[in-house]
């Protein structure tokens, strides 16, 4: 087993899916000869040919719109949108068609497609390359939104997304693409969708997060552990639908919860989780649920980026506040 980075795990899963199922095609801008701007599709063109690894014209809406046609004809398109900031023009197709084709035809046509896109801030890029549209996508009926946070989960969840019979928006944490490596077994085994992953068990407080913020949250849990505080860390992983049972059960055990996201606060997934805890877990809470989020501003350009992204300091402060609550 090789130690690989998250973006390499994405590549490994794509190659595995294409080898196992001739209906899987990969399409997007620069996914062929160039191997993708992040190299997520590196080597696929050479292995599977230009009919299945498709360099498209430069039109995001086309990439997702044609994926819907392909999917309805029985192909399994995996579309790449270069950055999530370029995905907004595709929302018409995802919302008005991909998410409702099965419903509006009473199951006659469906859209087993995946839209992959790098997501989140922290790589010091130009404007539009640091967006976190997870809540926007999660508001769309009929789709799944999946957001892995490690090479292993990227591999297993991407395989699951490709095999899923419904449309999946697959957000990839750009900041983690090459931040760390872990062993990934190319065993073609998919991970379960629609469930949270409890990455660390603990009885004192529940830290709920997803995407790149899982990285900092785990570091916080380590530091807390040194102080004798046992934090339970939950990676939500599938953001639509959310496995609230796991979150509620954990908070029932710890009585305290901090939700961590790098997306802006207003109408965020953190808000949905906090609301659900208030609705269904209020009597188990020993302290108010806290949300650590980005502020409700436009993502700043790189010079102020580190003031925008929440980090360990904010998470630790929230944990302290929660633990000190009477």
């Amino acid at each position: 087993m090789a130690q690989i980075a998250l973006v390499e795990a994405v590549n490994l899963a794509l190659a595995r899916a294409m080898a196992d199922d001739p209906d899987v095609v990969v399409l997007g801008q620069d996914v062929g000869r160039d191997g993708g701007v992040f190299r997520a599709t590196l080597g696929l063109l050479e292995k599977f040919g230009s009919e299945r690894v498709i360099d498209t014209p430069l039109a995001e809406n086309l990439i997702v719109g044609m994926s819907i046609g392909m999917a309805a004809e029985g192909l399994k398109p995996v579309a790449e949108i270069q950055f999530s900031g370029f995905s907004y023009t595709t929302i018409d197709q995802i919302l008005n068609h991909a998410g409702r084709m099965r419903h509006r035809t009473r199951g006659r046509l469906s859209c087993p497609l995946v839209v992959r896109t790098p997501c989140g801030a922290g790589i010091h890029p130009p404007e539009h390359h640091s967006e976190s549209p997870d809540a926007m996508f999660a508001h769309i009926p009929g789709i799944r939104v999946v957001y892995p946070s490690s090479p292993k989960r990227a591999y297993g969840l991407l395989l699951a997304a490709i095999r899923d019979p419904d449309p999946v928006v697959f957000l990839e944490p750009t900041r983690l693409y090459r931040l760390f490596k872990e062993e990934v077994n190319d065993n073609a085994e998919a991970l379960a969708l629609d469930v949270c992953f409890t990455l660390r068990e603990g009885s004192d407080i529940t830290l709920v997060t997803w995407g790149a913020m899982v990285y900092e949250t785990l570091q916080v849990a380590d530091e807390l552990s040194e102080q004798g505080i046992a934090a339970e860390v939950i990676d939500v992983a599938t953001l639509k639908p959310i496995d609230f049972d796991t979150i509620l059960a954990s908070v029932a055990k710890t009585g305290r919860c901090v939700v961590v996201t790098e997306a802006p606060r207003h109408c965020s997934i953190a808000s949905e989780i906090a609301a659900t805890l208030a609705e269904n877990g209020l009597l188990t809470l020993l302290a108010p649920v806290q949300r650590i989020t980005a502020p409700d501003v436009v993502v700043p350009l790189p010079r102020l980026e580190h003031h925008y992204l929440p980090g360990k300091r904010q998470i630790l402060a929230a944990v302290k506040k929660s633990l000190e609550f009477a």
Binding site: V64, G65, M66, G69, L75, R102, R106
Partner: protein, 364 residues
Amino acid sequence: MTTVASFQIEYLQFLDPHGKVVAPLPAFAQDPAALIALYKAMVLMRTYDAKAIALQRTGQLGTYASLLGKEAVEAGVGAAMSKDDVLFCTYRENGVQIMRGVTMRELFLYWGGDERGSDFAGPRRDFPICITIASQCLHAVGVGYAIKLRREPRVAVCMLGDGATSKGDFYESINAAGAWRLPVVFVVTNNQWAISVSRKTQTAAQTLAQKALAAGFDGVQVDGNDVIAVHHAVRETLAKARSGGGPTLIEAVTYRLADHTTADDASRYRPAEEVAAAWQREPVLRLRHYLTDTGAWNKAHEEELLRQCNDQVQAAAQAYLDTPAPAPDQMFDHLYATLPAAYAAQRAAVHASSQEVRAKIDKP
């Protein structure tokens, strides 16, 4: 300066507005039976259309978009397509759908507000009616790509209106269809009006057909009130696409004789004289003139056809009216292949709420 590109757009017409032959008829049109079949299809869709409006006006159908004036485009396309081709259509193409085997009961169900109307028993691969303008063009490109990848002798037929050719979806689609030489035929019905915006206001382009040239494939303009011209053009371009010749765009020039929908009042924005003049060019009468002049059709035929069409349409309308609404919690049935556990409670809540409403109705 040198000229690096120049273009011309051809216009195809066989019958003038009086049904007189103005160009040598294509081979298929030498056979009266073929023309009578087209005529019957046009009369059936016009009968269906009138019934749909009547149902809407009497509160038995939702908002409806009339196809009046567009019968030649629809019959010309519908008769040219093979069973295994895939149709992409807007809300104004029920006529093509009927010819594809979508039942009028299904169409009434659709307009009556029931998703089951898009679960076509006939053409299972055809896409449902697309309301968001031009967005279906991208789906046609995807289907065209899949067909080409699998080397199948099928074609994606994408219908759209004049207003749709202003949208990015349209340009992205024709560009990709041209770049990959896909088996996609775009049929643009230019009925002169996109709700209240006239064709002249819509674009400075002299024709809509010429937009195809920018994407690297042929565009042709046809008299959209001449079913022989439409059918001939579609047949030829389908054959070309089927044999690997790539996409074509057909601009069918016609006129929207009705309001945009039953919720519209076109007298607010277009002169009555323009509409009256358009009635002089309308497609159904034009073919009837030709058929009558050549002795292939007479009053008795006409009366018999109208009776048959009425019977068929009445039966479909009754079948629609007799179809009970689905159970409320069926709105969850096809949201996903399998409803995620997270939504079980919401489904149960909708069911419980509907039972309460029912209880109230049962015991006022």
